[in-house]
């Protein structure tokens, strides 16, 4: 005998769900029968490719189809009884809202519907194939852990949860993108993060109305306050331990489904010059390396400009031995130093950009043609002097010492206005350029957090990196509620 109660028929339910998910989707519906005597009609629905089929077969269909002997005639709450007794999947619950049911199907869950019921059993069968956890190729640390984030959001969250077992580690979920409906999870440590800042960020996220968010950088552009600034305003990482330490400073991590790149807010300028390795190595080494990076910034921005100034306006400052060889090298070259330096810089930029996108096999040709042939030919063709070529080369090489690629590109772009300024105003142009860069950096803010500012207490982790046990306070520039990172456990202050 078939139990009948014409409130929500099985077919209606299936059709409703199909309409909500979208009729053009590859939705799989499987009808079956539960029980022997007074049996129930039932169906499961899942999206092909997103759910794990072996789990469905083994833990849902197998027990329900083959092992049910109960009589459901007078039973109430049949759904709960069924999932409690027969479904061997841990994350299972009953849902009434059909819209949420549709959302869950899109995220790889399986829905079990029993005949004449308006309630749906949602079973977590999320699966599908993802990239395995590997070491991020773009961020390498010799001594750090070898794991990196992947495209799967749950895996990424779990990686962070595994590292931070604090009960205050909070996650909040947003769904962004009208069409892509991408999951965004923000993570923070509840009693460290500044509540006002958090609210600001959340408000800002809620205003986003876009059809799809493909990558964290898209989100970054939706949120940032200075869209036309040359400097990157949000830093991120593929390494969980980096994100972990940023969370500990009171920052908020943005994990977006489908991208292994996790960004943190707020970001300040100096972070772009810090790497994981800095914290793992020796204090003195780190100091020297950081100084080297700062020197690299200076070299990239001002070396070509200073060269032009000295050659064009202030020859009297060059010692006599140097000037002799400079004149020798420049003999017969008709292009002005400015033009040849500019040309060389642009050629090198072309090679860099080309090398970045090329497959590595073609890259070799590029380096041969670029490095050897063009360099040598440019000299012999009397287009540039060897000293100009040297300056352009140094400036490019120095830019590679800046650890973060986007920042490296920004810094390199500053060369051009500097070159023009110095060609026009000499050393005054360089001064004006530098002062403007500093002033501009100082004027930038992200949601009220200054982008570039020095505070005395933060100096422990700016140019130098103090021993870990001395960094008792969290950075002052990052808003937070709990300034104390650790106690003075080595008792240095009382000594």
């Amino acid at each position: 005998m078939q139990l009948s109660n014409k409130k929500c028929t099985l077919n209606d339910n299936i059709n409703n769900i199909r309409n909500l998910v979208g009729t053009k989707n590859e939705l799989v519906t499987r009808n079956f029968i539960i029980g022997k005597k007074n049996y129930l009609e039932a169906a499961i629905i899942y999206m092909d490719g997103l759910a794990k089929k072996d789990v469905i077969d083994r833990d849902i269909l197998n027990p329900l189809m083959l092992h049910v002997n109960d009589d459901f005639t007078l039973m109430e709450n049949i759904e709960e009884y069924i999932y409690k007794k027969y479904i061997a999947v841990s994350d299972t619950y009953v849902e009434i809202d059909i819209n949420k049911v549709a959302d869950n199907i899109k995220r790889g869950k399986t829905i079990l519907i029993v005949q004449d019921s308006c309630r749906f059993i949602i079973i977590d069968t999320t699966g599908g194939v993802y990239r395995a956890i590997t070491e991020p190729v773009n961020e390498i640390a010799l001594r750090g852990p070898r794991e990196g984030f992947v495209e799967n959001l749950e895996t990424n969250i779990s990686m962070l949860r595994r590292r931070i077992k604090d009960k205050n580690l909070a996650t909040e979920k947003f769904v962004l993108g009208r069409r892509s409906q991408t999951d965004l999870v923000i993570m923070y440590i509840d009693d460290i993060v500044d509540k006002e800042y958090l609210q600001n960020i959340k408000d800002k996220i809620n205003t986003i109305d876009i059809d799809s968010i493909t990558e964290n950088s898209i989100l970054e552009q939706c949120l940032e306050e200075h869209p036309y600034s040359i400097f990157p305003q949000v830093i991120g990482s593929e390494r969980p331990e980096v994100i972990e330490s940023k969370l500990m400073e009171g920052k908020i991590a943005f994990l977006l489904a489908g991208t292994p790149y996790v960004t943190t807010y707020p970001t300040i300028f100096i972070e772009f010059f810090q790497t994981t390795e800095d914290y793992l190595g020796r204090v003195i080494q780190t100091f020297l390396i950081r100084m080297l990076r700062m020197l690299a910034v200076f070299v990239v921005i001002s070396f070509p400009a200073i060269y032009i100034t000295l050659i064009k306006f202030n020859q009297e400052l060059i010692p006599i031995d140097y000037i002799k060889s400079l004149i020798q090298a420049r003999k017969g070259i008709s292009l002005s130093p400015f033009m040849s330096l500019l040309g060389m810089q642009i050629t090198l930029e072309l090679m860099r950009e080309g090398g970045l996108r090329m497959p590595s096999k073609i890259g070799q040709t590029l380096s041969v043609v670029g490095g050897i042939i063009i360099g040598d030919a440019a000299l012999k063709a009397k287009i540039v002097s060897s000293s100009t070529l040297l300056i352009a080369g140094i400036s490019i090489v120095a830019s590679f010492a800046i650890s973060y690629y986007q920042m490296s590109v920004s810094i390199r772009l500053l060369v051009y206005p500097m070159l023009i300024l110095s060609n026009w105003l000499g050393i005054l142009g360089i001064v004006i350029g530098w002062f403007f860069i500093l002033a501009y950096l100082c004027s930038m803010e992200n949601f009220g957090v200054p982008y570039f500012a020095f505070t005395k207490s933060d100096m422990k982790d700016t140019f130098i990196r103090a021993p870990i046990w001395k960094m008792n306070k969290r950075p002052e520039l990052i808003p937070h509620n709990d300034p104390t990172r650790q106690s003075d456990f080595r008792g240095e202050k009382n000594k």
């Binding site: 306006f313 000499g426 005054l428 001064v431 530098w434 500093l438 570039f452 020095f454």
Partner: protein, 377 residues
């Protein structure tokens, strides 16, 4: 805490974040920035004319002027933490006279700004860019400076702090001269007579002008209790720099030779020799440009902010733009360095006397009428 109390606290916190406030360090270095300007390069000459090898003692004495201003500012800040001197002056002298005095007070900043700027252009064209005309230097250099003034106090505060750390090397550079000079140049101490030392200290006061900005910006400090500390710290930093360069110059050049130079302090850079460049003065003056730019920016901010406080209808940003051509024109009028110095020697002492009386009268009237008229007004 009651729910209501919590709500008030929340609101306050939000307001605090939005306010334009300076940290103690930023405040101190803003004061330092405005004081240390072009005068630093020639300060030994202003004092050794009268007090010879004891010039540095005169400079120590001259520090009494900023010290006095700090104490007065601290007193005002305690009584009226939210009102700057322009508001207090109107309360004290009435609207009309108050406004006139305010304008004179603000005009002092404009005057100092143009003096600084003219001096900078002159010195930089001698040591750095001899191929540029005066107007070329002025027109271009003022662009980034006005950008800072345009962006307001927060940017200025941060820049001054960052700038201090970046140019700290300038104070350290002249250590090299210790190998070349002679201590006999500084002997005998008090040899020029106490009278001359005091007389020269009047000249030294000129170099300390700029501290008056504290009356405009003390409402911006985050922690009001530290105002006095900031002021004292700043005064000691500036005094240290001045005394150090004066002693250095006398030690290195001697009293006679020093006066032959327009900017004797630059010669201290000679002590450093690096093989890739012939003259270290060039690098010194380049780095010093950053100090100078900070100084002019701070003056610029003081003028545009002061005008904005007097005429509230026009925003400080618009004043910044309007002031740009005015500053260029006034600066062009000074002409060469001798003329600039001439105007400085004539006008700055008058301004200093005006500032002293203006500030003192307001302070005294606050003291006398404490809590009676002011609070109501």
């Amino acid at each position: 805490m009651t729910l209501h109390g919590k709500a008030i606290l929340e609101v306050r916190k939000i307001n605090r974040a939005k306010d334009n406030l300076l940290t103690t360090n930023q405040f101190t270095f803003t004061l330092k920035s405005i004081m240390v300007g072009i005068a630093t390069l020639s300060i030994p000459n202003t004092v050794i004319k009268v007090s010879k090898q004891d010039g540095w003692i005169s400079i120590l004495l001259g520090a009494l002027y900023p010290l006095y201003l700090v104490i007065i500012a601290n007193f005002m800040s305690k009584n009226f933490p939210k009102d700057n001197i322009l508001v207090l002056s109107k309360k004290c002298f009435g609207n009309f006279i108050g406004s006139i005095l305010n304008f004179i007070f603000i005009s002092f900043f404009l005057f100092s700004l143009t003096l600084e700027f003219s001096g900078y252009s002159n010195v930089f064209r001698v040591y750095g860019v001899s191929f540029l005309k005066n107007y070329q230097v002025l027109l271009t250099a003022l662009i980034p400076i006005s950008f800072v003034a345009y962006k307001g106090i927060k940017t200025l505060g941060r820049l001054n702090e960052v700038g201090f750390y970046l140019t700290i090397a300038l104070i350290v550079f002249p250590i090299g001269i210790l190998a070349y000079g002679s201590f006999y140049n500084l002997m005998p101490v008090f040899g020029s007579g106490l009278n001359n030392v005091v007389k020269a200290s009047k000249q030294a006061v000129v170099a300390y002008s700029g501290m008056e900005i504290i009356f405009l910006i003390y409402p911006f400090i985050q922690d009001r209790k530290k105002l006095l500390k900031c002021g004292l710290l700043n005064t000691s930093i500036v005094t240290f720099i001045y005394v150090w360069v004066t002693i250095g110059t006398i030690y290195y050049l001697g009293v006679e030779t020093s006066q032959k130079y327009l900017w004797p302090v630059i010669t201290l850079a000679d002590s450093i020799q690096i093989p890739v460049i012939n003259s270290f003065r060039y690098i010194f003056i380049t780095l010093f440009s950053l100090v100078e730019f900070k100084c002019i920016s701070t003056f610029y901010f003081a003028v545009s902010y002061g005008l904005n406080q007097s005429i509230k209808k026009v925003s400080a940003k618009i004043f910044t733009i309007l002031l740009y051509p005015i500053i260029i024109i006034i600066t062009m009028l000074y002409g060469n360095i001798t003329n600039t110095n001439y105007y400085a020697e004539k006008l700055v002492p008058i301004y200093v006397i005006f500032n002293l009386t203006y500030v003192s009268i307001i302070a005294i009237s606050i003291y006398l009428k404490r809590g009676v008229n002011y609070r109501k007004a």
